[in-house]
Amino acid sequence: MAGKMISLATNAAAEASRPPPRVRPTGWAWLLLPGSIFLTVLFVMPLLGLLLLSLGMPDWTLAHFLRIGDSPAYATVLGTTLEISLSVTALAFVFGYPIAYVLTTGGPTLRTFLLIAVVLPYFTSVLARTFAWIVLLGRGGVINEILLQLGLVSQPVTMLYNRVGVIIGMTHIIMPLMILPMSTVMSSIDQRLLRAARASGASSLAAFLTIFLPLSLPGVIAGVLLVFIYCLGFYITPALLGGLSDLTITMEISAQVVDRLNWNFGAALSMVLLVGVLAILWIGSRFFPIEQLLGFSDGKSGSDAAPRRQLGTRWLMHVGSAANTLDRWLPSMGGRGVVILASFLAVLLLLPVLIVAYLSFSSSPYFVFPVPGYSLGNYQAYLSDTLWMSATFASIRVALMAAGMATVLGAMLAFGLSRGRIRGRSAIVALVLSPIIMPTVIVAVATYFLLVRVGLQGTEFGLALGHAVHAIPFVVVIVVANLRDLNPAYERAARSLGAGPLATFRTIIAPLVMPAFIVAAFFAFLTSFDDVVYVLFLGIGKVTTLPMRMWEGIKQDISPTISAVATLQMAFAAIVIIIGAVLGRRRNT
């Protein structure tokens, strides 16, 4: 995405040489204002403070940056972090694409099932989930038992506490982040195009490769981008499922800030991470025209884009004819192969979830599998504890506030970015993405110093402000990916028929972009609902949220109460999805 910096820079240079600037900001550009101000005040200003901190303010020094170079360990850890993130992103894409495809094209029941399978893992508490993985993949786990029984192996295979464990564990929970942006874009693809291709003699594979796949690319890019960046911030799952050397840079930054109070050095490491990731995205955009795919290409670089598009078309022709040839040799799967594959993957995603639900009914005070007896003790412990209850309601209130702010501001930013035609858009995109690239622990410290000046520390609203900054990137990327195919001609038609801007938004834009808004708001809600870091600093112990309570349980206790909390959360999420599906069907019929 940062690649636009370069393409824009070259554009700017080209424009400078041309006397009349061709591109003028449109009225949409005004929508960039509120979100930009919000992010400037709540993110850029604290971040600048942080930069000063990494430079040793008030005793200016580069020592903290030089120290990173002194020990090769930091570079190794940064490399490990990137390796893990890339592996998880690739795996999530490979598994996610077929699920997203079926999620878009399948029947309502299948879609509801897939949606539940994709979303629920996110709600399992990290410790309960880790234990579920031990049940499945451990030395004496179910899978090793099966392999041994079948005689496929003679020794248990080590699948946990190494890189494999980290990748499986992380992929499992980031699936919604990959799948939902893809499926919102896929659902806007006109299926008649595929039928037209088939009618013109393309095999189903060729029609898929030349029509569906290219049209779904904005969603793919959005999903890949979000998953990759999100993975950089993981530190609990790698610690619980990984081996000794599966260190992530976020673990180290967090230790520097929280355990050793070396804020200058932690800030320096974060700066290196931010610059490194923006550089990677920039290099990546030289190979994948991210900015075009995300819908930022509105005529700004016609001279550059035209040959590229021609080249792309020629490629697609080759792919199509190759696929047609291939299809003749392959046994036809019909459409069913993909459905079976997606359903199988969904069941895999649900396995650990079901184990967590099963464990929640255990009568044992630990996580034991199989459970020695059934009991509702864990549910009683949760529901009868006022502390658990007040934490639950605090979490919901904070998440609703954060999701509300992030969705409104993020959606405005998205419209402004894709239609505002302003210069320096790349800077705004980098600004928007940076909050999720920076490790939350460092942003949280910086935000605390801002909030304390206005007396918002230790309030739910203050915490929601911090969460909103973190949620805006998700909203922007998801909405932008969906705006690409929103034809402005519809709106012009509405306006010419006398509809005001508000009426146009309500009757034309909102219904078309609604699925993206819902998914974006959902992620905004989740990023807030899942946070254990911002609350540490911004809540100053006075705001206790549900994940914080659950994390306490993990740090100190081995009580399976958290599995009951997780199961109730999952049941709630599943009910919401089912109600949504039923209402949606009723509206359609």
């Binding site: 234990f131 004496g140 740090k555």
Partner: protein
């Protein structure tokens, strides 16, 4: 309870002794709470509130039940408790921002010297303490502006189902994979425990471990290379060690004493080995600029009474420093505690001052050993 305290309540002497004996015998927390309520000292009574940090989870629950509730009953001071994973970063942030919202916080010994030097704490008011408390808490645990809250031990724990009573007895045994076969666990995030244990396994005397100079670090890392292939899981969160022992993911591990005691209390077949256990302190501090410093001083005086300390120890598994509490504790709990005289003679107490000391290159010794550890882990 001491003579001086008896004298301050002349009329209540006899019944108090009877009651105390009952409380000692019953060892029930309500009884202790009741007893302390009955004999609240004027010195500690007050009004208003006190904002007290604790780390949440079962430790906070134990504090509420065995300390905060009796404290409010005895003194009339309301406890507003705030919970967060760690205290030090918030204390530092509040201090820098010039707005301190808490009255007390726990501070780990390795973080204490820097924060002390930055003037974040006010002196502890020992004039509020009973003679009994002052005698029971060793002088070394009573600093000018901090007092030990508990000593946390990292010790060897093993699966009784595997070894019975004849498991490993020292860190040398932990390294002896022939005599004591089976997968092991070790704590991943911190270097200090692992370096200590490796040195002991390599024959270094306990008294020679600190300071952890570079030659000793080299020697320890070499020894750790030996055990590395036998460690299935380098764990991170305190609850993981006993949980993974129970799940048979490993047969022995290092573990925090409080977590093992909690598991044993719930019936887990785990044994503790105190030989060569690492002990470091967590301090109570009163935060400079906090809203109710006077009440915080009273709370700290209150928790260091032997009866209150014993209630907290039973509820949490974390023993406060008052040795007089041993006579109030059930006899089956005492052998599990780092403050029992027998265990206390076997442990190694970390040199926190050395860890916090600055090196010529500006890093602290702790930074240095962590960087060596990181490099060893990452390779």
């Amino acid at each position: 309870m001491t003579e001086s305290k008896d004298r301050s309540f002349p009329g209540a002497g006899l019944s108090r002794r009877t009651l105390l004996r009952a409380a000692t015998a019953a060892m029930a927390i309500p009884a202790i709470a009741w007893a302390t309520t009955a004999f609240a000292q004027d010195k500690l009574s007050g009004k208003g509130e006190v904002v007290v940090y604790s780390p949440g989870g079962s430790l906070t629950q134990a504090l509420r039940k065995s300390v905060f509730e009796p404290f409010t009953k005895a003194t009339g001071i309301t406890v507003v408790d705030v919970t967060a994973d760690f205290a030090e970063p918030q204390v530092k942030a509040m201090n820098q921002a010039g707005r301190v919202d808490w009255d007390t916080a726990f501070v780990q010994a390795q973080n204490y010297p820097d924060m002390h030097a930055a003037g974040m704490f006010v002196p502890i008011d020992y004039s509020l303490w009973d003679d009994e408390s002052l005698k029971g808490v060793p002088e070394a645990n009573r600093l000018n502006d901090a007092v030990v809250m508990y000593g946390s031990a990292m010790l060897l724990a093993y699966d009784e189902r595997v070894f019975g009573a004849n498991g490993p007895k020292s860190w040398a045994d932990f390294w002896d994979v022939k005599a004591y076969p089976g997968p092991r666990g070790l704590y991943a995030p911190a270097a200090k425990h692992n370096l200590e244990f490796a040195l002991m396994a390599d024959g270094v005397a306990k008294s020679d471990i600190w300071p952890l100079t570079d030659d000793k670090i080299d020697r320890a890392l070499k020894k750790l290379d030996e055990i590395k292939p036998h460690v299935t899981k380098w764990w991170t969160a305190g609850g993981e060690a006993p949980q993974l022992l129970l799940n048979r993911e490993f047969v022995m591990t290092n573990a925090f004493d409080g977590r093992v005691i909690a598991a044993i209390n719930q019936g887990a077949k785990i044994r503790m080995v105190w030989e060569g256990a690492h002990v470091n302190y967590t301090y109570w501090t009163v935060l400079k600029g906090g809203p109710n410093n006077a009440n915080a001083q009273k709370l700290i005086a209150f928790i260091n009474k032997a009866t209150i300390a014993s209630g907290f120890t039973q509820a949490s598994g974390f023993p406060g420093p008052n040795r007089n509490q041993l006579q109030h504790l059930p006899s089956n709990l005492v052998p599990l505690l780092s403050i029992s005289p027998e265990n206390a003679s076997k442990v190694v107490i970390e040199d926190s001052a050395w860890l916090a000391a600055k090196r010529p290159d500006g890093k602290t010794n702790l930074d240095h050993i962590q960087e060596r550890w990181l490099a060893w882990r990452a390779k």
